[in-house]
Amino acid sequence: MAFVDLKDIRVSYDTKQDVLKDLNLSINKGELVSLLGPSGCGKTTTLRVIAGLIEPNDGEFNVDEENLTKVPVHKRNFGMVFQSYALFPHLTIFENVAFGLKMRKENKTIIKNKVMQMLEVTGLAEFSNRYPKQLSGGQRQRVALARALVIEPKLLLLDEPLSNLDAKLRISMRMEIKRIQRSLGITTVFVTHDQEECFSISDKVAVMNNGVIEQFDSPEEIYAFPKTEFVARFIGFENFITLNKLGEESYLAEDGSKFYSTAKTISNADKVKGTIRPDDIQIIENSENLDNTLSGEALVRTFLGKSYQYEVKTALGHLLVNDESLRTYQTGEQVTLYLNPAKLILV
C-alpha cells in the first residue's frame, strides 16, 4: 500500500449531489502531489478529508498502513497551511509557531529551541515577538508554514497557500516550499487552481473535475498527453476536432479528410476528439492531399512575440495556429494546415 491511500471516498452535503464520488488516490512517501482543478471540482474537499475536517460518507483513508478514517482532526498530526493562513491574531509569531508543540505538552526549553530554529530556517527570527498584523502577506505565509512544519508532521497539507500573494512572491515562495519539502522529505499535498504553479513543483498532479480525478500523472505526462477533453482544455489545448474511427490508427474527419496520430493514446472509442496545441500546427505550402492536412481561411492575426497567432476558419471549425515563420498571412488568405501526428492527442 502506498504511504497515503484514499479508497473509494464519497462525500456529499445535504444528500444532494456527491461532492466526491469513488475517489481513489495513492501517494508515495516523500512525494509532493498537487490537486489541480477549477473551483468547485472537489480538490479542497479532498484535502479537508485528508486533514480530518470532513468525515467522508463512504470510503477509507490510510496513512502509513494505519486506518485514520475515524480519527479526529487533532489527533492526526498533519501540518496544514490554510488559504487565509489562519494565524492567531492574539498571539505573537513565536507563540503562533509554538502552539502545536504546546498542545503536545513538550518541555519549554525544547519548544524554544525548535521554534527558534524553525524561525531561523524560514527567515522570521527577527519577528518572533511581533504580532501577525504587523507582518506582510509573504511573511505571514512563512509563519503559517513554519507553524505547520515545526510539529514534524506526517503530512503537509497546503490549501491554495499562494493565492493571496502577488505574482513575483508567488514564484519565489513556491520554490521555497519545494526546497523545504525536498530537504525535509515530507509527504505533501498541495491544492491549487494555478496550472503553472502546480506543474512547476509537483512530483505528481491529480487533475480534478466535478468530484472525480480525471488524470493522475507526472506534470510532464499530463502536459504532453492529456487523457480527457477536460484535462486537455484545462492545460491549454485550444483546438478540438471531432474524429470517427476508420482503421487501426486512422480516423476520418467530418469533411472526409483522414487523420492519424502517433501520440500515445488509450482511446478505443469510435468517436473521439483530436486535440492539438497551436504550436504544433504548421502552415505549409499547397497541400499534396496528405493525411493530417486541412485547408482554411485566415481570419484574425495577432502578434505574440515569437510567433504570429492566426484564427483559421476550416471545415472542421475554427483553429488557432501559431506560426513562427513570421511570414504574415492576410485576412481572407487561404492557408493549408498540417497537424503533426506526433502531437495530435486523442481524447
Binding site: P72, H74, P89, N164
Partner: protein, 279 residues
Amino acid sequence: MLNRKIPYIFVTPGLILLVVFLILPLVSIIWPTFYDGAFTFSNYAAFFDSSFNINIMWRTVKISLIVTLWTIVLGLPTAYYIAKANRKWRSLLMGLVLFPLLTNSVVRSFAWINLLGTNGVVNRILLAVGFIDEPIKMLYTEFAITIGSVYLFLPLMITTLVGILENIDEEMIEAAETLGANPWLAFIKVVLPLSIPGVLVGSTLVFTGTLTAYTTPQLLGGNQNMMMSTFLYQNAMTLGNWQQSGVIALIMIATTIIVMNLFNGIARVLDRRGGDLNA
C-alpha cells in the same frame, strides 16, 4: 462658495434642536446643584454623606455588575452556538433572541411579577412539591431586580456577541485543531481570547443599561429597593426635590461616562495584541 456652507446648513437644525432641547435642559437641572449664589459642592457632599444614598448607589452598581457577569456566562455560549449554526438555524435563533429585545420592558418585567410573586408560579410549584411550607418573598427584592434585569439584557448581550463571533474565521479554529487542540481547547485558546472585545462591548451596554434602567427596578424592586433611576423619579415627581434630583442625575451621567471609558480603555489595551486580522 455655497459649497462650503452646505455641511453647516445640513447639520445646523439638528445641532440647534439638540442644544436647546437636550443640553440646555441638562444644564438647567445640573447647574443649580453646583451654584446657588456661589459655587458650591455642598449638595454633593450632603448626598454622599447620607448612608441611605450610598446604599442606593452601591446597590445599583452591585446589581449592574452581577447582571453583567450573568449575561456573559449565559450569553457567550449561546452566541457562540448561534454564530456557528448553519444559516437557516441562525436566522431562526436570531429572530427568537430579537423578539424579547423588541418587546416592551413593562411586559418583560411583568412576566417576572407573575413568576416571583407570593402567589406566583415559582412559589406555587415549590409549595406543591413540598420544598417549602410558606411562600418565599421573592418579589420586591434585589434578587427580583437582578433576575429581571438579566432577563431584560441577555438578548442584548447575545446579539452583540453573535456579531463579533461570526467574524472569528472558522479556519483559525480548524488550524488550532490541526495543531493538536481538541475542540474545547480550541475554544478556550482561540475563540475566547478573540471574543473579549465583543464581550467588552456587550458588557458596556448591559452594565450601563442596568445602571440606568427604570422599569425593572420600579416594578420588581419597589420602594424598599431603590436603584438610582427610581430614586431620581421619586425625588423629582413624588418629593418635588429638584436639587436632589439634579445631583442624582449628574452622578448617573458621570457614572455612565466613567464606566464606558473604563471598558473602552480595557478594550484598547487588549486590542493592541489582538484586533482585526484579515490576511
